[in-house]
C-alpha cells in the first residue's frame, strides 16, 4: 500500500529554497507526473522521496511509515533515472537478476520474478543480448525491469525517457504507463516534457520556484488551468489584457481596448478590475461560430508544421494572436495579408487577475 505523503517538505541550498513547504499526497496506484521550468525543484522533490536528499524540514511518509532517516536501499522503491545505467558487460538477464543475487535472495524466486518482468517489458527474445546491442528504448525498459526486481510497489522515474529520441520516447511512454498499471504500481515521474506528462499520468503537478502551484487531471489542467502560469506552461495560449466592463448571468465582458471586447464564462472578478484573458490557439477558429466572440484582424504570418497551420493574426489593438488549425482535405489555404474574423467560444476564454509583477514576468518559462 505505497501511498506517498509529503508534509511541509523544505530543502534549501544556501539562499536558494529548492523545495518550499511542499505538501503532496500520491495515492496508492496513482501515476503522478511533476513538471515545471528548470530549477523549479522537481528533481530535488523526487530525490527526497528516493532518499538521495534529506529535507531540512518536513516529513516524508511511504505507506504510512516516516522515512526521513531511512536509507535509499530500505525504502522499498524502484528508481529509474535518465542516464541508462545498465552494466555494459552483463546481458539483459544478468542485469535484471543482479540486485537479488547480490542480496542473496533465493535463486528460484529470483528467476520467477525475472521471467515475469521480462514478459512485462516484452524483450523475451533478447535476454542474452548485451546493452549495446539493444536500442535505447529497450535498454531503458530493461532498467525499469531491473528497478522492479525488488518487488517494490513504488516506482520513481526521474526523466526516464529524457535521453531517448522523440519517436522512441512517444512510443515508450505508453509502454511505461501500461507496465505501471498492469503491475498495480504507484508511480512518480519527473519530466521536462509537458506532452509526456499529459499523456502518461492520472494527475499532473506543476511546480515553480520550489512550490507546487497547481495539480490536476491532465485534461482539466489543460482546459481550465487555475493559474496563469500553468495556462502558458502546459500548452500555448494567447493572452489579451483588459478591464472588466460588465458582469452578467452568462459571464464577464472584457474591454480589450480600441473597441475590442471579449466575453468569458468566468465571473470571478469585479467590474473595473484589470484582467488577462487567455485562450488556446486551437480553440480559436477562422470564421464565425454560433455564440462565439468574434475578433477581426489581418493575417501577418502562416507557419506550417505538417498538417497543422499556425496563423498569426494582428488585431486592431496591435496585439497578435495565434490560431492553430488542422488542415482538412480540400480546404483552401488562408493568405498572408488577408482580413479574417476569428471566433472563440466564451467557455474557452479563461480569465485571470492581471499579475502584480507584470504579465511578461509572470508567464516567463525560465
Amino acid at each position: 500500500m505505497p501511498e506517498v505523503k509529503l508534509v511541509n517538505v523544505t530543502k534549501r541550498y544556501g539562499r536558494i529554497v529548492a523545495n518550499d513547504h511542499i505538501n503532496l499526497t500520491i495515492r496508492d496506484k496513482e501515476y503522478v507526473s511533476v513538471i515545471g521550468p528548470s530549477g523549479c525543484g522537481k528533481t530535488t522533490l523526487i530525490k527526497s522521496i528516493a532518499g538521495i536528499i534529506e529535507p531540512d524540514e518536513g516529513e516524508i511518509y511511504i505507506g504510512g511509515r516516516l522515512v526521513n532517516k531511512v536509507p535509499i536501499e530500505d525504502r522499498e522503491i524502484g528508481y529509474v533515472f535518465q542516464n541508462i545505467a545498465l552494466f555494459p558487460h552483463m546481458t539483459v538477464w544478468d542485469n535484471i537478476t543482479y540486485g537479488p543475487k547480490v542480496r542473496g535472495y533465493p535463486p528460484e524466486e529470483t528467476e520467477t520474478i525475472a521471467r515475469e518482468m521480462i514478459e512485462m517489458i516484452k524483450v523475451a527474445a533478447r535476454t542474452d543480448a548485451y546493452p549495446d546491442e539493444l536500442s535505447g528504448g529497450t535498454q531503458q525498459k530493461t532498467a525499469v525491469a531491473r528497478a522492479l526486481m525488488t518487488r517494490s510497489k513504488l516506482l520513481l522515474l526521474d526523466e526516464p525517457l529524457g535521453a531517448l529520441d522523440l519517436k522512441v520516447r512517444a512510443a515508450l511512454r505508453y509502454e511505461l504507463r501500461r507496465i505501471v498499471k498492469d503491475l498495480g504500481l504507484t508511480a512518480l515521474h519527473v519530466t521536462h516534457d509537458q506532452e509526456e506528462a499529459m499523456s502518461i499520468s492520472d494527475r499532473v503537478v506543476v511546480m515553480r520556484r520550489g512550490r507546487i502551484i497547481e495539480s490536476g487531471k491532465p485534461l482539466e489542467l489543460y482546459m481550465r488551468p487555475k493559474n496563469i502560469f500553468t495556462a502558458n506552461f502546459v500548452g500555448e495560449a494567447n493572452f489579451l489584457a483588459g478591464k472588466v466592463e460588465r458582469i452578467t448571468e452568462e459571464g464577464s465582458l472584457i474591454d480589450l481596448g480600441d473597441g475590442l471586447k471579449i466575453m468569458t464564462k468566468d465571473r470571478n472578478m469585479k467590474v473595473g478590475d484589470r484582467v488577462v484573458t487567455a485562450f488556446r490557439p486551437e480553440f480559436a477558429v477562422l470564421g464565425k461560430i454560433e455564440g462565439g466572440n468574434t475578433l477581426s484582424g489581418k493575417i501577418t504570418n502562416i507557419v506550417y508544421s505538417g498538417s497543422l497551420l499556425r496563423i498569426h493574426v494582428e488585431l486592431p489593438n496591435e496585439n497578435e494572436i495565434i490560431i492553430k488549425k488542422a488542415l482538412q482535405f480540400g480546404e483552401p489555404l488562408p493568405k498572408i495579408g488577408g482580413k479574417v474574423t476569428v471566433s472563440v467560444l466564451p467557455e474557452n476564454v479563461l480569465m485571470y487577475p492581471y499579475p502584480e509583477r507584470g504579465l511578461y514576468r509572470e508567464l516567463s518559462l525560465e
Binding site: P37, S38, G136, D165, L166, K167, V168, A170, Y174, H192, D193, Q194, E195, E196, M198, S199, P218, L219, Y222, N232, F233, V234, G235, E236, R280, E282, F283, A284, V285, I289, G292, V303, Y304, S305, G306, S307, L308, K324, K325, A326, F329, G330, S343, V344, L345, N348, S364, L365, E366
Partner: protein, 368 residues
C-alpha cells in the same frame, strides 16, 4: 553558387560507415535542418563541415573554396555552437567581443562591432550581466552575437534546444530562426525533432544510416514522402498491409485482411501486388456519419489519450486491425470515449501506397 557544398563525402569509423557518398549544396542565407534518428550520421556531417572531422573520401567547399584539410579555426565563416556555451567568468560584452579581441582588431573597431551586434540581438542593456544572470533565451542570443561578431556567416547548430523544456523550445526556435534570417546568415541545424524541422527549415535533409533518404522543403517532405521510413519519421502514420485488388483511372482498391477494402487515388499500382497503405494519424477523422467520397470504416474506440492540445484515439476496426487518429481539440470538437462505436474516415488522396518492403514492414519503422 552554393555557399557550402559537399561532394561524395564518405566517413568511416572502424567498421561503421557513418556517411556514405553525401552530395549536398546549401545556398547563401538558407536555413537547412538535418533530420534523422540517433546514429544516422547527422552530427558527423556537421563536424565535417566545421572541420572537426576529415572525410575519408569526398570534397568540401565553402564559398567556392575547397576546405579539406583546413583546420576549424581557419574556416573563418563557420561557427559551431555546442550547447551555446558562454564563458561563465566573462560578462556579456567580454563574451561577445572575444573573437575580435583574439583577432587583435583595433579597439575602436572592436567597440563598434560589439555594440552593433549586441543591439542586433536586443541585449545592449545587459552588456554587464554575467551568463548565470541571464535566461536561457538570452544566453542563446549572446552566443549568437558572439558568433556574428567573430565574423560567422554559417551557423552550425547541433541539437541547440536538446536539453531545454519542451514548452520553451517552441518559443526559442522561432526566435532563433527570425534572428538568423534577419542577419542573412546560413544555418545548418541538426535535430531529431521533426516538428522543429518542419517549423523552422527552408529545406529538410533526412538522413538514414549515413545516406540522404530525401530532401526538400518541409511541405514537399510532408506531402510527398518517398519512403515508408520518411512517412513514419515525419508526422507519424498508420501502416496497413494489403493487396491491390482493382486498378482503374480513378485509382486503386487495396484489400486488407478480413476483406476490408480501401480506395486510394494512386492508380500506379500492379494488380495483385502486396503493398502498404500509409495514412497520417492527423488525416483520419472520427465521426458518427459517413463522409462522401471518403473511405468510411466502422470501429470501436479502444483507447483515448489526451496529449496536450490533441486527443490520440486508437480504434479497432472490424478486421481487428487497429488504426490511430490524432485530433486537434478545436473550438467545438467532439470527444469520444472508450467503447464508442465510430466511423473512421479518410480521403483516398490521403493514402500513400508503398510496395511492401523486402526487409518487412516493422524493420522500416523500427529503425527509428
Amino acid at each position: 553558387m552554393s555557399l557550402v557544398k559537399l561532394v561524395n563525402v564518405t566517413k568511416r569509423f572502424g567498421k561503421i560507415i557513418a556517411l556514405k557518398g553525401i552530395n549536398l549544396s546549401i545556398e547563401d542565407g538558407e536555413y537547412v535542418c538535418i533530420l534523422g534518428p540517433t546514429g544516422a550520421g547527422k552530427t558527423t556531417l556537421l563536424r565535417i563541415i566545421a572541420g572537426l572531422l576529415e572525410p575519408d573520401v569526398g570534397e568540401i567547399y565553402i564559398g567556392g573554396k575547397r576546405v579539406n584539410g583546413v583546420p576549424p579555426e581557419e574556416r573563418n565563416a563557420v561557427y559551431m555552437f555546442q550547447n551555446f556555451a558562454l564563458f561563465p567568468h566573462m560578462n556579456v560584452w567580454q563574451n561577445v567581443s572575444f573573437g575580435p579581441v583574439i583577432k587583435e582588431w583595433d579597439s575602436e573597431k572592436i567597440k563598434n562591432v560589439t555594440s552593433e551586434v549586441l543591439e542586433m540581438v536586443r541585449l545592449g542593456e545587459r552588456r554587464d550581466a554575467y551568463p548565470n544572470e541571464l535566461s536561457g533565451g538570452m544566453q542563446q542570443r549572446v552566443a549568437l552575437a558572439r558568433g556574428i561578431a567573430a565574423g560567422a556567416r554559417i551557423l552550425l547548430l547541433d541539437e541547440p534546444f536538446g536539453a531545454l523544456d519542451a514548452r520553451l523550445r517552441v518559443n526559442l526556435r522561432t526566435q532563433l530562426r527570425n534572428l538568423v534570417k534577419d542577419q542573412g546568415l546560413t544555418t545548418i541545424h541538426v535535430t531529431h525533432d521533426q516538428e522543429e524541422a518542419l517549423m523552422v527549415a527552408d529545406r529538410i535533409v533526412i538522413l538514414r544510416e549515413g545516406r540522404i533518404e530525401q530532401m526538400g522543403s518541409p511541405q514537399e517532405i510532408y506531402t510527398n514522402p518517398k519512403s515508408i521510413f520518411v512517412m513514419s519519421f515525419v508526422g507519424g502514420a498508420n501502416f496497413l498491409d494489403g493487396v491491390v485488388s482493382t486498378v482503374d483511372a480513378s485509382g486503386s482498391i487495396i484489400e486488407l485482411r478480413g476483406g476490408l477494402r480501401i480506395q486510394v487515388s494512386d492508380s500506379n499500382q500492379r494488380l495483385g501486388g502486396r503493398v502498404v497503405i500509409a495514412v497520417r494519424r492527423e488525416d483520419i477523422s472520427l465521426g458518427k456519419s459517413r463522409k462522401r467520397g471518403f473511405n468510411n470504416l466502422i470501429g470501436e474506440v479502444v483507447d483515448a489519450m489526451f496529449v496536450g492540445g490533441s486527443i490520440e484515439y486508437v480504434v479497432r476496426l472490424e478486421n481487428d486491425m487497429s488504426i490511430s487518429s490524432r485530433i486537434l481539440l478545436e473550438g467545438e470538437s467532439r470527444i469520444f470515449q472508450k467503447g464508442d462505436v465510430v466511423i473512421v474516415s479518410f480521403h483516398p488522396s490521403e493514402c500513400y501506397v508503398f510496395p511492401y518492403p523486402e526487409r518487412g514492414l516493422l524493420k522500416e519503422i523500427e529503425a527509428i
